[in-house]
Structures are given as structure tokens and as C-alpha cells.
Amino acid sequence: MTMRKQETSLSAEEGARLMAAVAGERNRSAFAKLFDYYAPRLKSFMMRSGMTSPVAEDLAQETMLLVWKKASYFDPLRAGVSTWIFTIARNVRIDRLRREGRPSAADSLDPSDEPEEPASAEASIMAAERDERVRAAIAMLPGEQAEILRMAYFGDKAQSEIARDLGIPLGTVKSRTRLALNRLRAILDDLV
């Protein structure tokens, strides 16, 4: 059994390079590096979405399994590694919540099979800039607004919790989310 250390940072370029090695050569040590960085964060993501620790770990594993299987679909011109892995995790979570609701659901549908179109030259430039632009925008938001947007990614349960933590009604969280989105849109439009 290998002891794994947790990776504390991974640059976009390094992530893309590791993904290319996984896709091209099925390189396991490259995959191990991606795993060490992303799996603990994916578990965190799932726990914040209201999953118990064992379920969250299972879903983190499920997500990383799909990262391995679908590595050839990753296109650095379309999205950064973190964004791509986020969309896989999001679909894994949707799939899990659906199965919880209905144990006998048809499982033939792979939620991460999204239509892949070749990125146009224009899209490529945009994809490279998008991550930086979005990160810059979120850094410019007041802390509370950034936090309220973050919570929106974890679903209603997380939103109810933030309402309780702040001592405000859920409706207020939703209206603050709307305000934060307006602010974010203004910043993003400015950064174009």
C-alpha cells in the first residue's frame, strides 16, 4: 500500500501536461499526481454538497475513475483541468442524487457524456482566457458575495446552512445570490 501525500497546488499548465500524459500514454504516475491533488478536493466538494464522508469518498473515486476513462476527451483549448473535472464531479453528483431518489433508475445513461465538438480557433483563445478572467472576477468580489456564490454550487442544503450560519432566512440567501451574480456579471463584462 502506497502512502499518498496531498498536493497543495497544481498549475493549469502542469495539470494539462499531466492530463496529456494520462490520455496519450495512460501514464499512471501522472494520474497519481492528478489524484493526489483532485481527489481530496472532490471529497470536500461532495461533503459540502451534503454527502457523508464515505459516500463523498466513493464519489470522489467515481469522478477520478471517469477522469481516467475520459482523459482523451479533455481538450485544454476548451477548458482548464479544474473546470473539466468540476463538470465531471457535478454530473457524478447529479447521478447519485437521482439514484438516491429512485433506486431502480436506468443506469445506462452516462451523465458525463456530453456532446464534444471540436473547439474553434476563437473558442480556444476564449477558453484560455476564461479561467483567468473568472478567477480575477471572483477575487474582486466582496468576501461575503464570493462565499454566497460558492455555496450556490453545493445546492440547497448548503444554502440552508449558510442561512442558518448568517442567521438570515433562505429567501435572503437567494436574493443575496442574485445581487452577487449581478456584481459578478458587471465585473466579468468589464474584464472582456
Binding site: M1, K43, W68, K69, A79, W84, I85, A106, A152
Partner: protein, 217 residues
Amino acid sequence: MIKHHPSDETLLRYASGTLEAGPRVVVAIHVGDCTACAARVADFEALGGAFLDDLPAEKLGDGAFDALMSRIDADAASRAIPAQPRRLSRAEVGIRLPEALDDCEVGPWRWIGPGVRRSRVTLADDPKANVMLLKVAAGRRLPEHTHSGFEYTQVLKGSFRDARGHYEPGDMDEADSEVDHQPVVDETGECICIAAVEGGIRLRGFFGRMFQPLFSA
């Protein structure tokens, strides 16, 4: 030219995976046709990626990586069983359906009122979601209605007008429970929309009166 779009909140919920299955498929149809909204969704997905990066690392069980690699090896060893082709019943509804509906069953048109027909759409990943195609004859006025949750309507063919504007193919009408609307289909031809309401059983108002018996059938 698409004039009516989902709100940023709806696109955020779509991109973050927190929108219900019914509205999700209707929004997917809009986003597939609308480059502005597709770009907005890509922004929100990038935001999700940034948030994922910022999350504190949660400790994994010992041997998590090795367990995953064993699973990958076992996966590779067992020949993948080709997925059974899904048997979808799809009624002929007279228009080419958007790709987002590829996994859906589409029922036949049924008369539900003068000049109004609906076809039930059953999603593969959530058969209980309330999604339907609506076909309304030219010049026909729909009954005034309100609804309890959000209602998402994407125009596929034809056009209609209500107090808030004119809706053409590609446009999405996103209406909350505050909106009292009385859409009128243009005289130029019939209008086909795909609509979803949020909340599985919250069928009151217009949807309730008109569709409850059909949904529960």
C-alpha cells in the same frame, strides 16, 4: 436573434448541477442554441473549477489510490459490455426535436383544450419530471395563469406574445410565480414549445387545472 434568455441564477444552477431535471433539459435546449448563454455557462463552469481548486483537501482513506487503480485494472480486464440500445417510444410530433431530447420518450399529441395539444416528455434520468411539448393553434389565447414554482418555456416553432414581450424560436420564457401571463399565439401559425415546471407535484394554477389529470393518468 434570441431576445429572451434564462436568468443568470438559472444558468448558474444549470452550470452547477443544482437545477431540477425537467428545467435542466429545457435550459439545455436554450443553451444549445444560444451562444451568449453558452458562454455564460462556460464562465460558471470555470467558476466551479476555481472553487474546486480553493476547497480544502479532505483526507482520503488509506489506500484510496491503490483501490482505484485496482478498479481500473479490473475494468480493463473485463470486456466492456456494450450498453443495451434503449428502446424509446417516440411519437411523430411534426418537428425535429433538439438533441437534448435524444434520451427522452416523447408521447403522442393529446387534445387538452380548444386548439391546445400536449405531448408528455419522459426523461431517461428522471421519469417523474414534468416536461411537455405544447402545441397551440395560431391566434389561440391560453388561459390566464399563475404557477407555484418557476416555469421554463422554450419556443421551438412559431411564436407567441404576452404582456412581457414577443417570443420566437430560441427564446426562453422564464416565469416565476409572480408572473400572471396570458400568452397569445401569433396568427402566422401554430406554436410549439417545450415547457417544464419546477417541483414534481406542485401543480396548481394553469398547469394544475389543465394538466394535472393528464400527468396523473
